[in-house]
Amino acid sequence: MNGEGRLTFALAKGRLAEKAVELLERAGIDCRALRDQGRRLVFEDERGETAFMLVKPADVATYVDHGVADLGIAGKDSLMEENRPLYEMLDLGFGRCRLALAGYPGTSLAGRHVRVATKYPFIAQELFSKRGCTYEIIRLNGSVELGPIVGLSDVILDIVESGATLKANGLAVLEEICPVSARLVVNRVSLKTKAARIRPLIERLGGILGEGRQ
């Protein structure tokens, strides 16, 4: 467990982390430790008030659920896939895209055995088990668009930003499942045991995001 007075963040590596740091700095969190990264895995500020871990997006929920990180920032897609009991307190507004079913235009999903290629087997399971059709989930770790092209699957379940990759391969969005964006998640215990620091932070972040929207 991480120390009493310290707030630990788990941030999804990559573009989300850059945006997250920008936002956290505006909310008054000292993120200088992250500037000089080297090969370290945990970054702590000089006063020991804040620590950061840069982790794979899919692992953010795990770190926060176990309480080794108090807060996390990750995309809604990876949080849905992990499906852990966390407080999901703010939509941070960046990293926007959509979770969608895609395939060749005109592909029918009704009344047949559907093969779904995806990086999100849990979400696919949840989605198709409610529809009462026969389905098969094929788990891939990348380049999911290949599924329909090489005949591995009928459709894919993936995140779609502009749709350019789909279009370039003759594929199209068949059905939008839900919008995706970066979320701030909080450990269920930390929110209460470190309320004095976390609550004002959430309120400040909420204020900054509110300004952005107007």
């Binding site: 009493e4 309480g67 009991p85 407080y87 269920r188 215990v189 930390s190 209460k192 309320a195 609550r199």
Partner: protein
Amino acid sequence: MPRFTLPESVGDFLFGELRRKQALEKTLRANFSLWGYDEVLPAGLDFFDNFTRGPGARPQEGMLKSFDGSGRILAMRPEFTAQLARLAGSKLAVLPPPLRLCYLGPVYAGPQGKAGHLSEFTQAGVELMGPSSPEADAEVVLLALSLMREAGLQGTMVELGQIGFFKGLMEESGLRAEAIAELRAYVEQKNALAIELLLRDEKVPAEAARRIMELPMLFGGGEVLQSAAKRGAGVRCAAAIENLRRIYELVCACGFGDQVVIDLGMAPSLSYYTGLVFRGLTASLGRPVLTGGRYDGLLAEYGRDLPATGFALEVEGLLEALLNETAEESRVDLIYAVDARSFAEAFAEVSALRAQGLRVELCFESDPEKIRARAAQRGAARVMGVKE
């Protein structure tokens, strides 16, 4: 199948680990007993139907099942409360209320148990059957608090909620049952965005929607109750707040005010809980150590219509939290044995080690046994300076 391996998600307890677990269980039992609770140990294997009755109904995938000789479905106990309700309505039917019962033993989760979670773990808890007063709820909350303290946990607290507040808001909203089930999950997650979208889709009137959207942030000290009451709650919400206020004041009056917080956004099972809901937290564990609340509808299912309140705690979780605390506070990397002659020489070497960031403790014993014992006590992986 490889030999000598265990099924997934179960573990053996050996030596020190087992001793620590047994010592903790002894403390828990002693405290239950001091508070006047009598221990029962229902059968570990029971009829499946006994766990799926009425408001306690568990999803069947959460249970390990088998059959008896005549084909009836059996289940390994997934929790104790349903069985204690069965006892209260059958073997203990002659006992006049209030009944103060406690238990401690293994429970089993179904095969779908989340990765990393044990399929077999130890639960301990109490049920206070009979009284429905705030005093009864305060008693179990106080017992939960003192149990966590007696177990040796630091920085513990309980969060109190009242399920009637959420149910009252749902009545005012006019939402359909399916939407309420969905909304409950979002409220538990404090997911403001999902709540807002659902209320908009369901066209909930603005005033009711505004009050529901406040739920995620309705946590903090006693002032939360005042502000919730002031915002013009309906009859059912007002009654829930009044009930919670009385429980909160009783617990505070007993000197535990600094360890109690309010969270009106707590919304565990709606069908099971009927009043107070609470969780026990410690800064050294990422999940609640104990959960509980009032469940007035369950006992009637077993032929004895008594209101009841109680809680269950996870013994392995408590052990994990205790280990996290001691690990952080008192572990060193290295024990360095010195005596008067080698002191200066040792000091130079120790300084170099410390410069590398190692936590080094000097030991002035000469008996190698004693030095090693000290190393074990401090969790030190290395010992230096021992003359064999």
